[in-house]
Every structure is written in structure tokens, then in C-alpha cells.
């Protein structure tokens, strides 16, 4: 009990660290949780467009603007160049279109007036470009046929209203699972950082040369001390895991009550075990308390950045992902990503999940052995 008490004492001294990482998880896990509509109909992606109209009121220009409004998300920024440039840089708006003075008149006079644009050159901007080109092509065709203003507007709108038939096969609401995946991916950072920090601190406190000498000559068996340390570390991991799982239920609500939710939780549990073994290993090799903070940051941030806890895996360079295969976080996050798209649970779809779990358990075993080999060598002091 005395070992456990000491453990709790050290834990209590460092509760701010645990609170810090938990707050980070809630803040960042929460940021990405804008509610999304659930529907199984096709919803077209819309570029963010800002329209600056310098033309006077006329049917041609108004209809053009109406078409853009229907097919894109209109962004309103202050009409000054700095605000617009900032908006473009931070991708608040993908496409800015400046409709020149006299556009409607010039267009009907058979000209192709120049339109100034600003673009972010990404895929949403390309889509906006396509929208504009399509409109102008259709409108020019009717104009060349000799339509009057009103005829042209009517014909253009009728033509552009023709749509294709679309079906969506997936019944899965990926948006909801996206949020859970992001939360659990991010949790890998908090879990790893918290566990390594606390467990290292505890172990290094017990490894302090004076304290270690005292415990060695005490009547308590060293095996017993080690067993208690292992137990209390395990208990701490378990509590931390439960805390994050409960938080996920609070933040994500009903979506967690599903088969997928159960896999996320179990996967997180396996990862917690691995993180504990990593922490025990690091705790056994690091003796300097001042160094712990640095080591925690490098290890936790490193594996989170490289394995896709912060930046989704599909956006990471391929080379980075290849290197990430040597880190346990990679297998944990892979499982989360895989669960996101599983629709039916069968042998085939669960295969990658099982393989990742086995690899994670392999990592745990590896670190346990490593810790034992190392501490065997370091048994004798002074």
C-alpha cells in the first residue's frame, strides 16, 4: 500500500499535466465537431465565392449572379483588397470575381468582356472556374442565336436546370464517424503524452539513488515493490482510458453507441496498453527528471505528426507514412481510419483491424521485453 500511496502523491503533484492534455484533447477534439446534416442524397460540393459587382442593374448580370449564388457558397467580406487578399490566403474564399462596369450591355453587344478574378488555384477554385465557363458558354450560344435579354435569361436557366440522375451507394454517415475518428486519433497524442510523462516521473522518483538504496535494504521484497508499481501504473492507464472514453461519449453523444464505437474504444484500450509499456521502458532508461519534459514532447508530438493524429493520414506524404510503420501510433490510427468505412462487419472487412491489433500487442510485448532486459543489466548500483 505504501508504494501505491507514494504513487498517488506524485500523481497528485502532477495533476496539472493530466488536466492540460485533457483540455487540449477536448478543445481540439471539439473544434472539429461542427454538426453536419445526415442525408443519403447527393450534395454537390460548393466553392466559396465572393462576387463584387460593378455593373449597373440589368437582367443579364443579375441572372449571372443568381446562377453563381445557387451553385456556390457566397462569402461576404469587407470590400477592401486587404480583407479579400487575407480571405484568399486563409482559404475563407476560393474565388473572387469582379464583374466590370457595363458587363451586361457589352455581353449582349456580342463582346466577351474581361472579368478579373482572384483564385486560390485549388480544386474548389477549379470548380468555380468551371461554373463560370459553363454559364458564359451557354449564354453566348443563346446570344448568338439572336435571343433578347429576357429570352436569353429564360433559355439559359432552363438549360442549366437540366440535371443528371445520381445515386449514392453508401448508407454510412461518414461525417459522424469522421468526428469520432478525429477525436480518437487525437486522443493518441494525449494518452501517449500523459502516460509517458506521469509514469516516467513516478519511476524516476523511485529510481532516485538515495530512495533506491533505502528501498533495496528495506524489508519489502523488490518484487513486491515492482509489482505494486506495475499495478499502480496499470491502474492509472485504465483510469485515463476510461476518462477519455467517457469524454468521447459526452462530446460525441449517440454516435458512440454503435459497433464502430465499440471498436474505437477497444482499439484505444489496446493502444493504452502499448503506451503504458512504452512509458515503462522510457521511465526505466531516463533518470534525469528535467529531461522528461523534452522527451515526452518529442515522442508524443513526433509520433502524432508522423502517423496522422493531427493531420489526416490521406494528406501525409507517402514517404512519411512509410517511415511511420515503425511507430505503434500508426497501427492504432490505421484501425480508426479503417473502421470509418466499414459498412458490414465480416471476416474480410475486419481483417485489417485484427492485423493492426496484433501488431500493437506485438509492440507491447517488445517493449516489456526491452524494459526487462535493460533493467536486468542495471540491477547493480554503487
Amino acid at each position: 500500500m505504501i508504494v501505491f500511496k507514494a504513487f498517488l502523491k506524485i500523481l497528485n503533484k502532477n495533476k496539472s499535466i493530466i488536466i492540460l492534455y485533457t483540455v487540449i484533447l477536448v478543445v481540439f477534439g471539439g473544434i472539429n465537431m461542427n454538426a453536419s446534416d445526415t442525408n443519403t442524397n447527393f450534395v454537390a460540393s460548393k466553392p466559396n465565392v465572393m462576387i463584387i459587382n460593378n455593373d449597373e442593374k440589368n437582367e443579364i448580370t443579375d441572372n449571372f449572379i443568381k446562377y453563381l449564388k445557387d451553385n456556390s457558397k457566397i462569402i461576404k467580406l469587407k470590400n477592401n483588397e486587404d480583407a479579400i487578399n487575407d480571405g484568399l490566403f486563409y482559404r475563407d474564399v476560393n474565388f473572387v470575381i469582379y464583374i466590370p462596369k457595363g458587363y451586361g450591355k457589352d455581353f449582349m453587344a456580342g463582346k466577351n468582356p474581361e472579368i478579373e478574378i482572384k483564385t486560390t488555384k485549388d480544386y474548389k477554385a477549379s470548380l468555380a472556374d468551371m461554373l463560370i465557363t459553363r454559364y458564359i458558354q451557354v449564354a453566348s450560344t443563346y446570344r448568338d442565336m439572336g435571343n433578347t435579354d429576357t429570352e436569353l435569361v429564360k433559355n439559359v436557366n432552363e438549360t442549366l436546370a437540366k440535371q443528371g440522375e445520381v445515386t449514392i451507394t453508401s448508407k454510412l454517415d461518414t461525417n459522424k464517424l469522421e468526428r469520432i475518428t478525429f477525436y480518437y486519433n487525437f486522443a493518441s497524442y494525449s494518452i501517449l503524452a500523459c502516460l509517458v510523462y506521469v509514469i516516467c516521473l513516478v519511476l524516476s522518483s523511485f529510481k532516485d539513488i538515495k530512495i533506491q538504496k533505502r528501498t533495496i535494504i528495506s524489508s519489502t521484497n523488490y518484487k513486491k515493490i515492482n509489482r505494486y508499481l506495475l499495478l499502480s501504473n496499470g491502474l492509472f492507464s485504465l483510469i485515463l482510458w476510461s476518462l477519455y472514453v467517457i469524454l468521447s461519449f459526452i462530446l460525441l453523444g449517440n454516435d458512440m453507441f454503435s459497433k464502430q464505437g465499440a471498436i474505437y474504444m477497444l482499439n484505444c484500450f489496446v493502444f493504452t496498453i502499448v503506451a503504458t509499456t512504452i512509458a515503462m521502458f522510457i521511465g526505466s532508461i531516463v533518470l534525469n527528471k528535467n529531461a522528461i519534459n523534452g522527451i515526452v514532447n518529442v515522442i508524443a508530438l513526433g509520433s502524432s505528426f508522423l502517423c496522422g493524429a493531427f493531420v489526416p493520414m490521406q494528406w501525409l506524404p507517402k514517404g512519411v507514412l512509410r517511415v511511420a510503420h515503425i511507430l505503434p501510433s500508426y497501427y492504432y490510427i490505421s484501425t480508426n481510419e479503417a473502421v470509418k468505412s466499414i459498412e458490414t462487419f465480416d471476416k474480410e472487412s475486419l481483417k485489417p483491424v485484427c492485423i493492426n491489433t496484433l501488431v500493437l500487442l506485438g509492440f507491447a510485448l517488445f517493449f516489456v521485453i526491452l524494459t526487462n532486459v535493460y533493467s536486468k543489466k542495471k540491477q547493480k548500483i554503487g
Binding site: 447527393f42 486587404d82 486563409y90 472579368i115 468551371m130 463560370i132 453566348s140 451507394t169 490521406q314
Partner: protein
């Protein structure tokens, strides 16, 4: 005396391994992580060639318009190529479904009763474009004549240098500048009678206080600049970060940024009556909160704050530094840059001024 104290405080700073890690090595390590994680994001936002499938039944075969348009849009020599099309025989419809399920294609097109029907797995930009092109053909067919070849006459007047991931690295420089405050706090603590034994000795020694303080501060400043310079060299040559074309302005901004960091350190060390760990904690918290608001943990954060609560970032030193680099990178004019630079100078001088008042005439009857 000035040089003597300068030399020894420089030596003590370099012996403090933990501090050297945080101010020298940590930014470089973090920068490497940023680089590895973010280097592909912007490329992945460019429009890629989209993999789709078309089921080749008689209706498709007999529809010259569709065949021609899709042939052109998937032509390898066409610079506006949009699609990589896999034509599937009508008997192998299952294959299309399988490809879709395994996300090898974004969707497939099939003619049913003379109408094109698209099947997608989910919503998305690639799906939208595929739908959009198909609708274009439907609309042309409706018009019953060739669509005018007129291209929209668009003139792109947007700025170059639109790479927003650069902001990450600018916040990193800001963080390093402000972390310099840690060094400042250590150096000042050594001269404070209520903090260290060394401080007590200095307080009783017959030396002018300003000499001791300024020489300590100077040694920190030099250490700090060395750390920032290392980070610059690393980010420019190894990570190929673009700071714009105004080298001297970049250097000037970093020097002033370091001064702001130093003043923050001196300010906290002087005015906060607490232990060394608490002081370190305060400096780190201020720095990280500042970096958070200027976009280190999510680039759009800076934009959100700038747009909705501009005053916050006008008072935030991390944001002043980040914004200064951003202005040099993105804008042609220097108004914004000078505004940031002068704000930083004012920030530094106010903090140093208050610290001077706090440091004067500290006397202890007993301690």
C-alpha cells in the same frame, strides 16, 4: 565588470542543458515535424485527375456526343485533362461496383433508358465534378446545337505566394523568439537577491546594478539570436521555407522579435514574485497561448481572430511576429510589416520600462 558578468552569464546559459534544448533544439525538431506533416497538404488540394468508370452498353456506344466529350477529357495530351476513364463491358457491371466499393474510382456512369445515371459512393469534390461534366453534356444535348466555343475571358489578378502552410513556420519563429524569455528569466533570476544566493552576493557587491542587469540581458539576447539564426538556417536550407525576398527586413523583424521575447522574460522574472518553476510556467503559457492565437495549432485560428477580434492579435507578440513575416511574404507594400515591427518595439519597451521601475532600489533588511 560589465564584460566579466557578460562572459559568465553567457557561460552559465550555455551550461543549462534543459534551456538549450527548449530554445535551440525543440523548435528545429518541431519544424521538422511540421514539414513532414504539412508538405503535401496543399498539393492534395489541387485538382487531380479523377478515376471514373463508364459502362459501355449500346446506348453509350451509339451516343457520339458523350463518347466525344469523355474521350477529349480523358485524353492524355489534353492539358485540361480531367478524367482517367475505365470502360467496363456491360456484362461486368459488378466490376464497376467493386471498384467503387474499394474506392478505386469516384463513381461510374451508366445509361438507363436513354438517360445517364451516375453512381457514387459518397459526396465529394471529385463526384461533383463528374456530375457537373455529365450535366454539361445533358444540357448541350438539350440545346440541340453545338455550344459556343467562347472561353470565359477571365484575368487572374490574384497574388502569388499563396502557400498558407508557411504560417506554421512563421509561428515557429515567433515561438522561438518568445521562448528566449526563458533565458531572460534565468539570467535576471541570477541577479535577484530573493531568488538565488548568487543574487544575494551581487546585491551586496560594490557594482552598479545596471551594469549587471544589462550585461546579463545582453548575453541572453545573443544566445537567443544564435538560436533563431540556427532555426532560420535550418528552415531555409533544409526545409526550403519561403520568407519572401526581403532578407534584411526578415532579419530586422527577428531581432526585434527576440527583443520582445527577452523583455517578456525580464518582465516576468522581475514582477512575478514566485519560484523559478512558476516563472518558467508563466512564460511558456503566454508563449503557447500567443502561438495558438496566431495559428500554430490550426492556421485558420489567426484569420478567425484577425477577422473577429483584431485587437487580440494586435496585443499578442506572437501574432505581431507571425503577421510581420506573413506581410513580407504575401504583400508588396510594407505598411503592415512596419505596423507589426513598431508594435513589437512598443511592446518590448513598455515591458522593459516597467521592469526597470520594478528592479530599482530593491532593498532588503533581512532575507
Amino acid at each position: 565588470m560589465f564584460f566579466h558578468n557578460f562572459k559568465y552569464s553567457l557561460k552559465t546559459l550555455f551550461r543549462n542543458k534543459a534551456m538549450i534544448f527548449w530554445t535551440f533544439a525543440f523548435p528545429i525538431i518541431l519544424g521538422t515535424f511540421f514539414y513532414l506533416a504539412f508538405s503535401d497538404i496543399e498539393n492534395s488540394e489541387k485538382l487531380d485527375i479523377i478515376d471514373v468508370a463508364i459502362i459501355k452498353n449500346e446506348e453509350f456506344e451509339s451516343n457520339e456526343l458523350y463518347k466525344a466529350v469523355f474521350k477529349e477529357l480523358s485524353d492524355k495530351d489534353n492539358k485540361d485533362r480531367l478524367f482517367n476513364i475505365k470502360y467496363i463491358d456491360k456484362d461486368d457491371e459488378k466490376e464497376a461496383k467493386e471498384l467503387l466499393d474499394n474506392e478505386k474510382i469516384s463513381g461510374y456512369l451508366e445509361f438507363v433508358n436513354g438517360k445517364p445515371k451516375l453512381t457514387f459512393k459518397s459526396n465529394g469534390i471529385n463526384e461533383t465534378i463528374f456530375k457537373y461534366v455529365t450535366e454539361g453534356i445533358v444540357q448541350s444535348a438539350y440545346m440541340g446545337r453545338n455550344v459556343s466555343e467562347t472561353k470565359a475571358n477571365l484575368k487572374d489578378i490574384s497574388r502569388k505566394n499563396l502557400s498558407y502552410t508557411m504560417i506554421e513556420f512563421y509561428t515557429l519563429i515567433a515561438m522561438t523568439c518568445l521562448y528566449g524569455g526563458l533565458l531572460g528569466a534565468i539570467a535576471i533570476n541570477q541577479n535577484l537577491a530573493n531568488m538565488t544566493c548568487q543574487g544575494k552576493r551581487i546585491a551586496t557587491a560594490p557594482v552598479k546594478k545596471w551594469q549587471v542587469i544589462i550585461s546579463s540581458a545582453l548575453s541572453c539576447y545573443i544566445t537567443q539570436i544564435l538560436g533563431v539564426a540556427l532555426l532560420f538556417i535550418y528552415t531555409i536550407f533544409a526545409l526550403k521555407i519561403d520568407y519572401g525576398n526581403h532578407f534584411f527586413k526578415v532579419v530586422l523583424l527577428s531581432l526585434v522579435g527576440c527583443l520582445a521575447g527577452l523583455s517578456l522574460g525580464i518582465f516576468v522574472a522581475t514582477l512575478v514574485k514566485a519560484g523559478e518553476n512558476a516563472k518558467t510556467g508563466i512564460i511558456i503559457s503566454i508563449t503557447m497561448a500567443g502561438c495558438f492565437l496566431s495559428g500554430m495549432m490550426g492556421i485558420s485560428m489567426k484569420y478567425i481572430v484577425d477577422k473577429n477580434a483584431p485587437i487580440v492579435n494586435k496585443l499578442n507578440p506572437a501574432s505581431m511576429i507571425t503577421d510581420g513575416f506573413y506581410a513580407l511574404y504575401y504583400y508588396d507594400t510594407f505598411d503592415r510589416y512596419y505596423f507589426d515591427l513598431i508594435s513589437l518595439l512598443i511592446f518590448a519597451f513598455i515591458l522593459i520600462g516597467i521592469s526597470c521601475i520594478g528592479l530599482r532600489r530593491q532593498k532588503y533588511d533581512s532575507i
